[in-house]
Symmetry: C2
Subunit: 368 residues, 2 copies
């Protein structure tokens, strides 16, 4: 059992951002930027209180917050700083109710820390949970969708001062419309949506994932400074598997409709594994030889530096990196037929039926 | 002086829609559909009261309403009927104030009648004015922009039930974001925006244009049933000019980013005139021979059936039609440097300096 986080201090941010970036499966934004932004806010406004879902009253209003768009743009374009607070206030005003707490929607390099900045600026606590237990590229891909909880109303804001409030008939329409708005706003926007009651948070969100990210980051740091293998430390906390190690020999990444889409190839001793991504890593497959799948969404594909165990996100990928690909079983909610339909590789057009990563790894070991 | 309209009855709709479609310079939606929709509402809810801008109290809230998107889609896709009312109510709720009256933003086949349906359904009057004295393809192209009046807040609704509230930092951003949303909503949406006080309506809108459209439609009908030439009747009311008559020999029309874009060619005795459009007709030029401009926005290019004088809108254009192209001086507000920058052909990428249509016609007569 992991000790739950009670607060997030300045000195916790590096640890938290690193662990979150590993769980972010390549996406969820840049961890260094996510860390700096939260650190800046904490330095000015003080530590952030963390509450557990069970501590929420049933009718508390919790507002999940995130950045939508391509992480690459998140690195290249400087924010004004008030984008998140403006989105929160616009949503509160529309709802006629004040938020009691904020939450991340996903665990990832900067999207698990984005609500921390807003929490620090507003004095609100964050709930120790998220809606994925990983990161996903599209707005509707969140466990609340599986529980019939609407993304509406939601607000997008940008640095220029635009604010767009969306009420859509379903969460897929929210994705389509919010994405089109985001592209017009320059490819990356702050977003507040999926407003939930405390009761809904307890039912539909994945608890304890901020604590998990922090614990993972700490385990990695301890291994890095001690005698343990950093990758073994990651596998222990995530209950994950080694899939493949090698050198990145090709990166194909393009900005398309506000996403970073493409693939990268990892080569070792004549064998090549290709990982396709849309912000996040979607599927890892051997090239040639029947193209066996090593791991596919909704399970987590994680890419880390083979030497240090540090996460390598989509926008960091480059030729020559020595990486190790890891696989981790997703939250069981994603393994239901509805979960696989919502967040499985099949949604992105891959034809292979979903097989849990632990089964795929058994096959790999059995067949060499 | 034209008698101002006091109310719009079922039997007035054909006349009004026809006159509005002529002034719509090819755009503003299909007049037949616009007429039927308003007739249906009036048959159910009764006639619509028309008020003059001067009758408004200074702090009355007036909400302009229109359909955004390609007129072609407006014909092909059936509306539910409550799109406009839902947009109005969402805007009122956000403003915390009830509308006292509605108004068109433009004069055109269905966009001058769109607010009539909502007026009839809600019992609100419409103001005898619009923001163009013609039709234009983009949201910011409206005289209130020249007076610094924001398009925000504005609401888009669709048939499925989505509602998007936009607050943008300027009216050009409103155009860009609303257009992207509109495309996601299927290419055509109801829209309420440019909320104005009675004082602002009096200052920034063009008064009397619903009455002008009705008067134009009536003059045309009288000519059609009497001995007068229908086109002469149009020219008398609009103070316009004959530019060219001939047969449509080419129509190039494509749906692009939610607009109907393209051109059509009119030929007569070896001479061809090409009219470019983006929903509305932008520029009419001779092909070859130095390509003289006959008329360009912001002045109105009107295309009517050479025999009956009936308006031919962008979506009705087809090979073989005998058409007469007419030019009409725009409202003087569009002839200021700011007006020409906002609504002139130059905005759409044409390099020719703006010359008033009455000057162009003098040159044509002088040079044959």
């Amino acid at each position: 059992m992991i000790d739950p986080l009670k607060q997030i201090r300045f000195e916790d941010m590096k640890t938290l951002a690193t662990g979150a970036a590993i769980l972010g499966t390549g996406g969820g934004g840049d961890p260094y930027r996510g860390r700096l932004i939260a650190e800046l806010a904490i330095a000015e406004h003080g530590p952030i209180r963390v509450v557990q879902p069970r501590e929420l009253a049933d009718d508390d209003l919790v507002v999940p917050m995130w950045n939508i768009g391509a992480p690459v743009i998140g690195i290249e374009r400087i924010e004004k700083g008030d984008e998140g607070v403006r989105a929160l206030r616009a949503l509160e005003e529309f709802l006629g109710q004040k938020a009691v707490a904020l939450s991340p929607v996903e665990i990832g390099g900067s999207n698990s820390t984005m609500p921390l900045r807003v929490a620090s600026m507003t004095g609100l606590p964050v709930v120790d949970c998220d809606g994925m237990g990983r990161a996903y590229p599209e707005v509707q891909m969140i466990t609340p969708t599986l529980f019939g909880i609407p993304a509406s109303p939601a607000v997008l804001t940008d640095t220029a001062g635009n604010a767009i409030l969306l009420q859509t008939v379903d969460n897929l329409q929210m994705e389509r419309i919010a994405r089109a708005v985001c592209v017009q706003l320059g490819g990356r926007s702050a977003m507040a949506g999926y407003p939930m009651s405390g009761r809904q948070i307890k039912r539909a969100m994945i608890p304890g994932t901020l604590s998990l990210a922090f614990h993972l980051g700490r385990a990695l740091e301890e291994a890095q400074t001690g005698q343990d293998d950093p990758i073994d430390a990651i596998l222990k906390v995530t209950r994950g598997f080694r899939l493949f190690s090698g050198k990145i020999v090709d990166v194909n990444r393009r900005l398309e409709k506000g996403w970073a889409r493409g693939y990268f190839d990892v080569e070792n001793q004549g064998k090549t594994v290709r990982v396709d991504f849309q912000n996040e890593f979607l599927i890892a497959r051997e090239l040639g030889r029947g193209g066996r799948v090593l791991c596919a969404a909704p399970d987590l594909i994680m890419s880390v530096d083979s030497h240090t165990g540090e996460p390598i996100t989509t926008e960091m990928l480059r030729y020559g990196y020595r990486v190790t690909l890891l696989g981790m079983p997703c939250d069981p909610r994603w393994r239901t037929p509805e979960g696989i339909a919502l967040g499985g590789a099949g949604y992105f057009g891959y034809e292979e039926a979903y097989v849990p990563v632990e089964t795929l790894v058994k096959w790999l070991i059995a067949n060499g």
